[in-house]
């Protein structure tokens, strides 16, 4: 189980970072619709960022008690694959509102499953608090689950 936690946590972080990036691209695409040519490079970067966690997730040894958690990660990964494809579609000049809505749904689905995975095990945060200015330097309290 410990090995699963360690390995899947890296996957979760990478999926989370990929989601942030794809959502950012989607936001740029929707806020500056006539200046979206430059978004292909960030999209390629996001796609490249997500290849390792996609592959690692497929290869993980999943203990029985982690199946539910793993399923959330797989579903999130699937939603992110869809989001990439839908951003590609939305980059076409004739993309319509329906395509953009489908993209938003994929991003929302990925968010919900990553968050659900985060709620099942400690250490799968959606925000990297270690870099958060309003929290990072507060004296960390040892979590009760690690006490002893």
């Amino acid at each position: 189980m410990l090995r699963y936690v360690v390995e899947s946590r890296t996957c979760h972080e990478r999926l989370r970072d990929g989601l942030t990036q794809l959502a950012g691209i989607a936001l740029l695409m929707m806020t500056r619709r006539n200046r979206i040519d430059s978004l292909q490079a960030p999209l390629d970067a996001a796609r490249a960022l997500l290849v390792p966690p996609f592959e690692a997730l497929a290869c993980l040894a999943v203990p029985r008690e982690a199946r539910h958690h793993h399923q959330h990660l797989l579903t999130a990964a699937d939603a992110l694959r869809q989001a990439i494809a839908r951003i590609e579609t939305c980059l076409y000049p004739n993309a319509d509102e329906r395509s953009r809505s489908a993209l938003t749904r994929s991003l929302r689905r990925a968010t919900e499953h990553l968050r659900a995975a985060g709620a099942l095990l400690p250490g799968f945060a959606m925000v990297d608090m270690a870099q958060a200015c309003c929290a990072c330097h507060a004296a960390p309290v040892r979590p009760t689950c690690l006490a002893g």
């Binding site: 936001l27 806020t31 608090m129 870099q131 507060a138």
Partner: protein
């Protein structure tokens, strides 16, 4: 005559926050209380927030257990101290894209949100640099960005490009590029409505944590001292600080850092039954005080 009633509303706090993060330099010089707060403005037929706070459902436990953030209360309870409901909020200015400033957008179903385009642009760019550069995008929550995408689709998220005068009557938005974050924004309220106002409040977001950023710790020999964390540069923070103080007519108390625990002593205030402070900066003629 004030155009807007203005309150700073605490919604949580860190009781012991290192001074060296609030104010660059004083290492090993102890801690202060760091309130988490947002700003409420009412007037001109609008109800306006500067930042939303974070969402306790998603982060509360982590923040409480690991980082000592306590006494969180949600927008419904906090705003009720001023007779406002979350659904009454018409406009939200997001000073920057950290979870504790834009993490509760979903609580405001009727609001339009304003953020700097540069904050989004540079963030996406920084994310392409790879995980080794994650310091540059720390404290960002993907769920907030997804929410922003949804709001954009609904026509409720507006990305502004640089400074905007009279974004709402008497309210100006200012870009402080490459400071605390890439596209941090501060909000100036000319509360008499005049273009050369004599009644200015500047809301600094996280460009300042404390009044001491405006003066330093030596009152006899004041200086600008930046906060401890800049994705951009300390230099840019110092110049932004100087500009905010200039806009406030040189009166430090009018440059408002929402994380400053002494706001309650500088302006009329009230401690709520929840142990949070309501700080009253201004009242319109038709508004009753919420602190007396």
């Amino acid at each position: 005559m004030s155009q807007y009633s203005i309150w700073v509303l605490d919604y949580a706090a860190v009781e012991t926050f290192p001074l060296s993060v609030m104010l660059y330099g004083p290492q090993y010089q102890g801690t202060r209380k760091l309130p988490y707060a947002y700003v409420l403005l009412k007037g001109q037929g609008r109800t306006i927030l500067i930042d939303t706070g974070y969402d306790h459902v998603n982060y509360g436990r982590t923040l409480a257990e690991l980082y000592g953030v306590s006494n969180y209360h949600g927008p419904a309870q906090v705003l009720a101290e001023c007779g406002v409901r979350p659904e009454d909020v018409t406009t939200v200015f997001i000073t920057h894209a950290h979870f504790d400033h834009m993490g509760a957008m979903h609580h405001f179903p009727n609001a339009r949100f304003y953020i700097q385009q540069r904050e989004v642009d540079k963030w996406v760019w920084a994310l392409t640099l790879g995980p080794e550069f994650r310091f540059l995008v720390g404290a960002a929550d993907p769920a907030d960005i997804v929410k922003a995408v949804e709001l954009t689709q609904q026509g409720r998220m507006i990305c502004v490009d640089g400074d905007v005068q009279d974004a709402l009557p008497g309210i100006d938005l200012h870009l402080a590029a490459d400071t605390h974050t890439y596209g941090s924004m501060y909000v100036t309220v000319r509360n008499d409505g005049a273009s050369a106002s004599q009644d200015v409040f500047v809301f600094a977001g996280d460009l300042l944590y404390t009044y001491d950023n405006l003066t330093g710790l030596d009152q006899e020999n004041p200086q600008y001292v930046p906060i401890g964390l800049a994705v951009g540069s300390q230099s840019n923070l110092i110049f932004a600080t100087a500009e905010m103080l200039r806009q406030a007519g040189g009166e430090p108390r009018r440059v408002v850092p929402v994380h400053e625990t002494r706001l309650k002593d500088v302006f009329p205030s009230r401690r709520t039954t929840a142990g949070l402070y309501v700080v009253e900066l201004a009242l319109t003629a038709d508004e009753t005080s919420k602190v007396f």
